[in-house]
């Protein structure tokens, strides 16, 4: 029998999933500057809305997982088409994640190391993590998060003397297109991926508690995101945030203990890399589950390795230039994610409601 996880573990997975990856580029802070809180508020509301939709659909079919629910509601072939669209989105997200980590390392820490070599190491790690299963991943995440939160708290405390200005003033001065793009960008890179967690909801012991625990995780993540935006904008400065490729990393570079002890950022980068791996592993795990269902694979063991190889090849051929990665992240991904991450759950909700009404009528 498949190992179950608790609703508590699922909530922490959601926090770890987003906290690790999203703090890398802070694109919405670059676009919206002092109005970044608008993107965060929108993101929280949209994330909780999406979570409610998916957990509602899941609660109506407690014995089925989301892929089986799709089959039941949409019919076998239409379900396959939509799941394939999701798989494409999953693959591009995952490759983007792999490339973001390797790009960060080759730009900041290991300039002479080949990105393919780094991507291979990450895919090997993530494939092994997928192989050992969700339960282990959930427990590992629980073991890592306290260290991450402690590191983050220490960073916050030591960056306070660097705060120079109120970064949320003057309010509402960013342009409307920037507000829209920034909000959609933040949402598609963070809580739109609640759909990915939808595929894991059938594995939670107490399904009724999924919504409250994940909603708390979403709120906590939003607080974390607002905090890092506040700290980064106020300590590094608006202009520098816009200039910097990795503003949050620049911010943690400012941390020093006393007069001489600097370079603390390496510790936080280590923890942050592990959390980014959590992000990638969850994406790859769900990809494996969904692809197994879509293609009707019975023997999963070699299939896990095949998926790992696919991820490696796809990543090593995608977003090769830094500019490609940024352009894709800002201009294409926010739009390409809307169908699989927003329209897909909404379709499921509408069909579930229609089905419920029909059942009530037939009674």
């Amino acid at each position: 029998m498949k190992e179950k996880i608790t609703h508590f573990q699922l909530g922490f997975l959601l926090f770890g999933f987003i906290a690790g990856f999203e703090s890398m580029f802070l694109t919405e802070s670059k676009l919206m500057k002092q109005d970044v809180w608008i993107a965060n508020l929108f993101n929280t509301a949209a994330g909780i809305g999406l979570l409610w939709i998916i957990s509602f659909v899941q609660r109506q079919f407690p014995n089925l997982n989301l892929t089986e629910i799709c089959d039941k509601l949409l019919g076998r072939w239409f379900s396959k088409v939509l799941l394939c669209v999701y798989l494409l989105n999953n693959l591009e997200t995952e490759s983007g994640g792999f490339r973001a980590v390797s790009m960060f390392y080759t730009t900041v820490i290991l300039p002479n190391t080949s990105s393919d070599y780094l991507i291979f190491l990450y895919t090997a790690c993530s494939t092994y993590a997928v192989y050992i299963g969700l339960g282990t991943l959930a427990r590992t995440n629980l073991a890592i998060l306290p260290f991450f939160l402690l590191g983050f708290l220490v960073t916050c405390l030591f960056i306070i003397p660097e705060i120079q200005t109120n970064p949320f003033l003057p309010q509402l001065k960013s342009s409307l297109p920037n507000r829209v793009v920034g909000s959609i960008h933040l949402f598609t890179f963070t809580f739109s991926q609640v759909i990915t967690f939808g595929f894991l909801m059938s594995r939670v012991e107490n399904m009724k508690k999924i919504f409250p625990s994940c909603a708390i995780a979403i709120l906590m993540t939003s607080i974390y995101l607002i905090m890092i935006s506040y700290l980064t904008l106020s300590s590094v400065g608006f202009n520098y945030v816009q200039t910097s490729t990795y503003p949050f990393f620049s911010m943690i570079q400012m941390v020093k203990f006393g007069e001489y002890l600097e370079r603390i950022e390496v510790l936080l980068v280590g923890l942050w890399t592990v959390l980014t791996l959590v992000y990638i592993v969850i994406m790859q795990y769900v990809f494996t589950l969904v692809a197994g269902h879509v293609f009707g694979i019975s023997k999963m063991k070699p299939f896990v390795v095949a998926i790992g190889l696919l991820c490696f090849v796809h990543t090593s051929k995608s977003y090769i230039r830094t500019a490609d990665h940024f352009t894709y992240g800002i201009k294409i991904y926010p739009l390409s994610s809307l169908l699989p991450c927003v329209a897909f759950p909404v379709i499921l909700l509408v069909l579930t409601l229609i089905k419920r009404r029909r059942e009530v009528k037939s009674l």
Binding site: M1, I132, T165, P170, N239, Y240, M254, T288
Partner: protein
Amino acid sequence: MYPIDNLIIFTGRNGISQKRAVSFFLAALCLLSITGCSPDVNEISDIALVTAAAIDYDVVTNKYSFSAFCVMPSNTSQEKTSALTQWVSSATGKTPLDAARKMRSRVGKNLIFQHNKFFIISESAAKHSLFEVMDYLSRKREFRLTAYPIIVQGQASDKLKLGTESGDMLSNDLLGQVRNNKLSGQDVALTIKDFVDLFENPTRGFVAGRIKTKSSETNKKEFLTVTGGAVIYKQKFAGWVDGNDVLILNSLSKKKVWKDIEFNDVIHSKNGSVFSALFHEKDLEIHGDIQNGRPKMSVYLKYIASVEDVNKDSDVGDSRVILQMEQAASIHLEKKIKKSLAFFQKKLKIDVLGFSDYYSQYHSKAWKTMQKDWETLYPMIPIQVHVTVLFEKSGMTTFIKEES
């Protein structure tokens, strides 16, 4: 059932499987050894640390010169510095990178810039090519954001060759001077991060660090001293500011700049006495207003002070005497601040104090109309200065009787 869920290393009920734990640690050990395969590994015997760098620009040839003060890692501690293990390397090139790469390729060691704290930029580079220089310094991953870009009069590379009065390594001496700024407040320690952030602001200027050469009072040798500042406006060097004006600039900046500064000054009291005091800024409030479409500002400063020496018999234990001294000190500091503000507004005509930032943050509507005329509005802003001084301490003696 999916086999991907079968293999579990840590189980909630049964604890860690011994066999798995051993194989996990063995695998981790093997993985540790692969770090040696990385092409980013540096052998300690192959490296040399750069502790200060200088960038020059020749307007005639359009060429940059990059110089580095290098030290062998075994002798970087203050006690062990010796002439044998320190040297200055230099090369010229078409861009800052071109010059730096040429210099690095000629040196027999792998140069490490992670510990470099100073980038000394020549006046010529700051005047004619500051954008290129700052772009290079902020783009390069090896340069830490906490390093100080400092402008120097004349050539920069020459300055690396000067010795120090203390006999210590150049960068240690300069760092000591930056640290000792809390004793005078007359220099600016602007990091690359702050430099780049202010550099992009089109409406305001800012003051970066300055290095000057001075002759020693004990011998004829010339040494470097970090004092005063270099004004940068519209991404170019725009002039020098002396130490007294920098002190006022620091006093009117963000708290992190002034909170540790304790400067001394000589005050002439109304009763004819002259005394020295140490002043420590306690509070700063800057208010801006708009009257008839024109900005108007007020500055409130509060200092805690201590009496350090008095030229004649004055009982500093007497509150009337102290009140007189406080009044004299307040008037003196107000005059001093007004003088510096007049210099920034009327002579320099560059908003180095960031008043434009204040208006854009707190009067954003009015700022929209003021922004385009800011250059003409700024020199005419009336600024009221209010200083309060509180003498908390007066030393170990109340007064020494003077022979009549």
